[in-house]
Amino acid sequence: MKLNIEGLLVYFPYDYIYPEQYSYMLELKRTLDAKGHGVLEMPSGTGKTISLLSLIVAYQKAYPLEVTKLVYCSRTVPEIEKVVEELRKLMDYYAKQTGVKNDFLALALSSRKNLCIHPEVSSLRFGKEVDGKCHSLTASYIRAQHHSNPSQPVCQFFEEFDAVGRQVPIPPGIYNLDDLKDFGRRKGWCPYFLARYAILHANIVVYSYHYLLDPKIADLVSKELAKKSVVVFDEAHNIDNVCIDSMSVNITRRTLDRCQTNVETLQNTISRIKETDAAKLREEYRRLVEGLKEANVARETDIYLSNPVLPDEILQEAVPGSIRTAEHFVGFIKRFLEYLKARLRIHHVVQESAPQFLKDIYEKVCIDRKPLRFCAERLRSLLRTLEIADIADFSAITLISHFATLVSTYSKGFTIIIEPFEDRTPTIANPVLHFSCMDPSIAIKPVFGRFQSVIITSGTLSPLDIYPRILDFRPVTMASFTMTLARTCLCPLIVGRGNDQVAMTSKFETREDFAVIRNYGNLLLEMSAIVPDGIVAFFTSYIYMENIVASWYEQGILENIQRNKLIFIETQDAAETSMALEKYQEACENGRGAILLSVARGKVSEGIDFVHHFGRAVIMFGVPYVYTQSRILKARLEYLRDQFQIRENDFLTFDAMRHAAQCVGRAIRGKTDYGLMIFADKRYARADKRGKLPRWIQEHLTDGSLNLTIDETVQLSKHFLRQMAQPFRRVTTRTFLSLFNDLNQA
């Protein structure tokens, strides 16, 4: 259908539209008009992505000079592929309606692991291996060697691409990852580098957060994206953690040991090169003196990870003299390494700020701030000069150099915590140095500064006002949309007590209580008897789940559950969990029914949807608070309080509730879907918790369902399920939708 959104003609590839989609587009249009940033919350399954794409594409077509590019960031590979497929649908619709052939270029970009078509390299399983191997076939000096010595293997796909791929632009169209691979195979070009090159002139780019938020990667991939782009962060409820992760570093003793071997290898290589090819080192030295840095040969294939600090923090001057020669630099690194080793030999926890650390290092081993800042840059240059092929092996020393650069660049927003052992196992020495970013706004700041519109959107962003605060930006629109439903297909229930009236809660003091565990077990058992097909249950943490499962096993609860359904449990091993997940779906498919026990904040809770019969009920056991005793978290809370005036408790509750909402939201992926959402903790009933749930869940939470016992829950669930199991009459939704749609037809 064609829509008129405040004077903009929008093609929407469906015959009907939900009211919330319409208002979503309206808000989005206003944001784009104002050239500002926006925060938009809309429930999952109401067609957020397609509304977003329809509007922005229409905007691009209408004002090609105002918005030149859409950069769509999502979190997981399946999400990315889904977005591209929706885009394809939209473009097909455009072509059909207007009769004009599509002239848009849209493509997905992913890591080499998902795009490589080299027969040997692509068979490797882990992303890091693929990257390393690719680098060893495509680095500039390898290719130079290949010229003189044809037996040196290179990647023919890259060679082909390098020879002709840049001159011939990729024809307009929608390229998903598989399409890129097909295209690459047909032409004999490397799809990865083709995609990286093509994003510069593509109209729409879909890739993952890291390509924009992680400075190490963003500098390589997204450096030249135009300013007049619209950036969308979908599923952005966790964006602050992504930001923080991309700037934080952990150093263990093992890292240092591996770094030690790296240093030794470097030393050997240097002395060998000195005997054979001293000119090369001299050349490097000369370059560094002149401050030429990368500029001359900054080939895309050479660099594996770029500078870890943000572009505007990188010093635009020559590398200081003390680390210019290769030997001096290696010596410098060695000294730094020894210092770190000494710091890790402690018996009590140390927490200090970056300036304190710099002062200490200056006093102890006379390392200045300035050479530290150049560490990452200098190491990169050295590795290239030494022509070391497998960069992956040098990850330890790269990490150390990044730490050096980061710690000397930022004096605020970071903290250093050295822990001699893990809290749970105080007897086993396992020292770790956490260099932790506490301010998510640092990493995302350049994005807000650079692009004219940044849209942050997700199904669960409540409370909306906290995101602008922790990310430190000023949005022009903030809106939360609810779900219009022809039938109430979600049923949130808060279970506060067992049948014995003992309060159910995962509060730390009572969580190991026998009665609580038994009541949780009874709840699951009762639900397993009445809910058809799949049930997903989330626990607050992995350890808690292990304990509960063990005591359920001892009490025979699991056996009774097994009479009703098969049980699958998430483990810490991703491959094992994938298998369990697949079996779970299989069991739901063939009618046996199954239960998946999983963990909030785990991979399952973040990336897997349980549509329709895969999740007829979600049970959230307890409130998924983050582990509050962690020092990193404490430091962050303190920082938030001091800098952004966010109280600790507010943030903790906000964090817990967004994860709880994420978990329960997994079950509802559309209006034809239905599911129970059971919050099994009496604390959910409190206004401060309940108020932080997304509006579309809150709306259906009646006062009557706030503090239920297990029996009452079962009664309500039975009623709900019976109602939902009736055939869904499309007609009612239809009439409702058509009424609305008639009003808005363009």
Binding site: Y14, P78, N250
Partner: protein, 553 residues
């Protein structure tokens, strides 16, 4: 003795029943007991009637065996031969153990089958009510030629297709019971054993390796339950334990399942993340590499439990699917390989389409889609010629092509156009008018129209009763006529019985009906045909009997 022809499988002397000494016989189809010195059985049960057998615990002074019947009654045998009592009892038990399941299945299957037939076929059900419930003929007679053995077997083989899956909680059903003297007792049924074997093929393998030669069945299961394998926190599996190997193989199976990865790309957690942070970056605590040393024993056992549950569920699921896949060739080898690796790995070749489908599924909003009407399946014909002509006999090599048909049609059309009636050579006017009369209502050839009035004449309840009578009579007559030609003594017997059945039918069913319609002043002609049919049967019987008499004299 009642039937000497029966094969006697086992004879146990000195068995007491109701304080009476006697001998226990196990025959091919029944178990029987006769008191000493008498040549008849006072107790006799068909195996099919026995629900289960129970034995007295080992420690008891009296060595007994109890048979529980489906009816709920039970019979207890006391093995009284001091020296060999235990052996006798065990021999009996073993034999019964082998025999009972066979009969149980058969009996149940038959009952089920009959029940199903009656439920599916209301006509048959009515017939059953008319004939069997009112005791015109016995149930066996009724079923005798309805339910041929082959059909039972056929249905059994059909049922095999849809074998019942395994309850996930089958291990939970084996509740250990204390037997009072510091021991545990597990009650195992054949179902549970079957479940164990199907879910854990390794145990089955061990069983077949060890049981006849190395240890008794009982010993095997005792060990099984003692073994850590059964107790789920199997941390320290001793080397002497025969099940430690099973545990290892299970582990291996689980590993191979894991390394195979998953077919559905949407649930593959490994490839979910696009760009994982390199090791050392991020705030998440670094996973400790040395798991075993760091973790406490308890944590280890906890994660072992979790692993076991996943494995168990996967195996149960696989076993459920297995019987579908390997129905035809349930050889040990096949089932083993397929269940250890759970799912067969599709090559990458198949992946893109699956992925595409899943992606498409994920982005559909069918309630926003317009009413495109029901999706129709387009007819895909390889040879449209054959479709429009229908099957043609294979022998005739001559096929009419559509071209031929078109030409012939056009020829006929052409002929029709040039058709000229030869008015002189038609039939006479009287013949024509009589034909018209015959074909008009009330005419000779339209008699059927008059008979329809019976619909209006007779009330519906009488009609339906009549129908039932017809059906019942038809069934009986079918039985009767199927006896001819009477060639065997059995048939002779049957034909006599059928004749009496027919007479009984006439007296108990037909007469009351006739009286009833007479009372309602309806034409008695209604049952005329029925009576004729019966009369014909009697005549035939009479003829046959006189002939037989003549032959005898």
């Amino acid at each position: 003795m009642a039937s000497l022809s029966e094969e006697v499988l086992l004879v146990v002397k000195r068995v007491r029943q109701r304080k009476q000494d006697g001998t226990l016989y196990l025959m091919a189809e029944r178990i029987a007991w006769g008191p000493e010195g008498k040549d008849r059985f006072t107790v006799s049960h068909l195996y099919a009637d026995i629900r289960c057998q129970k034995i007295s615990p080992d420690g008891k002074a009296k060595i007994q065996l109890q048979l529980v019947l489906h009816t709920g009654e039970s019979t207890t045998f006391h093995f009284a031969n001091e020296s060999t009592a235990l052996k006798d009892r065990d021999a009996t038990k073993e034999l019964l153990q082998q025999l009972l399941p066979k009969f149980k299945k058969k009996a149940n299957k038959e009952l089920e089958e009959k029940n199903r037939m009656l439920q599916e076929d209301p006509v048959l059900f009515q017939l059953y009510k008319d004939l069997v419930v009112s005791q015109v003929i016995s149930a066996e007679e009724f079923w005798a030629n309805r339910l041929s053995l082959s059909s039972v077997e056929h249905s059994i083989s059909n049922n095999n297709k849809q074998e019942v899956g395994i309850s996930a909680a089958f291990l939970a059903d084996i509740r250990p019971q204390t037997d009072g003297c510091n021991g545990l007792r597990y009650n195992l049924t054949t179902d549970i054993i079957e479940s164990i074997f199907r879910t854990y093929p390794t145990v089955k393998q061990k069983y077949s390796e060890n049981v006849p030669h190395n240890m008794t069945e009982k010993e095997f299961w005792t060990r099984f339950f003692q073994s850590h394998y059964f107790h789920r926190d199997r941390i320290s599996t001793g080397l002497q334990d025969i099940f430690s190997e099973c545990a290892k193989q299970d582990e291996k199976g689980l590993k191979s399942m894991v390394t195979q990865g998953v077919k559905n790309p949407m649930v593959d957690l490994l490839s979910l993340e696009d760009k994982t942070l390199d090791e050392g970056y991020g705030t998440a605590t670094v996973p400790t590499t040395s798991n075993s040393s760091n973790k406490s024993l308890r944590e280890n056992s906890n994660s072992a439990i979790i692993k076991r549950f996943n494995h168990h569920s996967a195996m149960v699921l696989a076993a459920g699917l297995l019987c579908v896949i390997f129905r035809d060739a349930p050889s040990d080898q096949a089932s083993e390989t397929s269940s250890t690796d759970g799912n067969s790995r599709d090559s990458d070749f198949f992946q893109p389409p699956l992925k595409k489908v899943k992606l498409q599924e994920a982005i559909e909003y069918d309630d926003l889609q317009g009413d495109s009407g029901r999706k129709t399946i387009s007819l895909n014909l390889k040879k449209s010629d054959r479709y429009s002509h229908g099957p043609t006999p294979l022998q005739s090599q001559h096929y009419t092509t559509s071209q031929d048909i078109i030409t012939s049609i056009s020829i006929i059309q052409h002929e029709m156009r040039s058709y000229k009636p030869r008015l002189t050579q038609v039939m006479s006017s009287s013949a024509a008018s009589s034909a018209i009369i015959a074909l008009s209502p009330g005419g000779v050839l339209m008699q059927g129209g008059a008979q329809q009035t019976i619909n209006q004449l007779v009330p519906t309840d009488v009609q339906s009763e009549l129908k039932h009578l017809y059906m019942a009579a038809g069934e009986l007559l079918r039985h009767f006529w199927s006896c001819f030609p009477v060639s065997t003594p059995f048939l002779e017997e049957k034909v006599v019985k059928m004749k009496s059945n027919l007479e009984k039918f006439q007296v108990t069913k037909l007469r009351p009906f006739q009286e009833k319609i007479q009372r309602q002043y309806l034409s008695t002609n209604l049952t005329g045909h029925l009576e004729e049919m019966l009369q014909a049967a009697y005549n035939k019987f009479q003829a046959w009997q006189t002939r037989r008499m003549m032959r005898k004299t």
